[in-house]
């Protein structure tokens, strides 16, 4: 299947027809909901917060933020940015609670410094790797985006961006741009090495180091390449998906200095999508 990012610019790809199909698909709704919930878990917000939703689309991610119950630190208030008028039209039809801007996040983030407690972006920022016209480069757009995002967040604020890089080059280009803007950054992988792998770029304002970015986050461990006392256990061949296999994969990733989830009682079980 070809990637939408390779076919058309986002505002043309998400036309009226595609936006309606996207927003009404129960499969898409459940995937976007579970990723948004995961992002919220990583943000670990304790109180009703002001959140920026980058590439908010028809509000599938945003409405989860509005629905966080009081006893879980919500409800939050969000402002969304999206470049597709049709997607925003769907959001209006669904009466979402957030305010929205028709805006290209590759042109910057037009809010005064320290506006937001946090930001999320679900399945959007890989679009920034495609420059649609000859007078802009992906690098310049990524810079405007991450510089603007950094500014718009309060000190100590966090952003979690789930994204679908086309390849390692895009993944590197995106995370490097975030680091250049001043973020402490780490990438978390859910279901690594499976077809449904999900990547979360975890960013923090006020820390040049990954450890700071994910400190206090639930279920995330920062893997330090300097840590030598881990058993690798590569000689044990284990069944794909089994607990032992996952532990082994984790060890391999730890060795590469990636962030992986800390071992929890859920390790090796299928996760339920929560609604």
């Amino acid at each position: 299947m070809s990637r939408p990012e390779d076919i058309l610019p986002p505002d043309l790809f998400y036309d009226d027809n595609e936006s309606r199909k996207y927003t009404t698909s129960s499969r898409i709704r459940s995937i976007q909901a579970s990723m948004t919930n995961r992002a919220l878990e990583l943000l670990d917000l304790q109180e009703p917060s002001m959140i920026l939703d980058l590439g908010c689309g028809s509000g599938l991610s945003g409405e989860i933020l509005s629905d966080v119950p009081e006893d879980e630190g919500g409800p939050h208030v969000w402002v969304g940015m999206d470049v597709s008028a049709s997607m925003l039209g769907q959001a209006l039809e669904r009466d979402v609670e957030g305010d929205m801007l028709l805006a290209d996040i590759g042109q910057g983030v037009p809010f005064r410094p320290g506006t937001f407690d946090a930001a999320i972006s679900i399945s959007a920022i890989q679009w920034l790797c495609n420059a649609e016209t000859s007078d802009v480069t992906p690098e310049a757009r990524l810079k405007l985006f991450f510089d603007g995002l950094y500014q718009s967040l309060k000190r100590g604020g966090k952003a979690v961006c789930q994204f679908y890089p086309k390849n390692t080059a895009q993944r590197t280009m995106i995370s490097q741009a975030a680091i250049k803007a001043g973020f402490g950054a780490g990438i978390l992988e859910d279901d690594p090495d499976t077809k449904s792998v999900k990547l979360y770029l975890v960013l923090s304002v006020g820390g040049g180091d990954v450890t700071g970015a994910v400190q206090g986050m639930d279920g995330v461990d920062v893997m330090d390449a300097r840590r030598q006392d881990r058993k690798r256990g590569r000689d044990v061949k284990s069944k794909k998906g089994s607990k032992a296999w996952i532990m082994n994969k984790k060890a391999q990733m730890e060795a590469k200095g990636k962030i992986v989830k800390s071992d929890s009682k859920y390790t090796g079980r299928k996760r339920k999508i929560a609604f």
């Binding site: 402002v79 305010d99 801007l101 028709l102 042109q107 037009p110 005064r112």
Partner: protein, 132 residues
Amino acid sequence: MKVLTLNFLTCARKTCKQNPAAFPLHPKEAELEQIETDINPLFIQNMLPRLDWEAMKTVTNELGLPNLPLETPTAEALVDESSGEPSQTLKDLHSLLMETSVASGKLVCANCGHEYAVKEGIANFLLPSHMV
């Protein structure tokens, strides 16, 4: 576009961002609407220190809304002392920040003069590439 959001939005042009005149954006030919929502006291309390009260006064005045107090209300003023319930101040803030919004009109940058159109509550911040 809620009055709350207007207290944070700036001109999107890079050349304006550093300029104090690029905030707040000034509503023009604005049509207002009032949309009821549940009150979220803790959210409002969290946002209080972040509000630019001078900009609040300017924008509400330009929107033809009633005059605001001279200073930002304090966190203590949000609860009614005797009952512990939301105070009138909190209810007023809620109604102004969260329930009053610009349904249509324009938002104008005082620095560069650019007008951002608002339709159905959504502001158009797309810039032609020479203006980025």
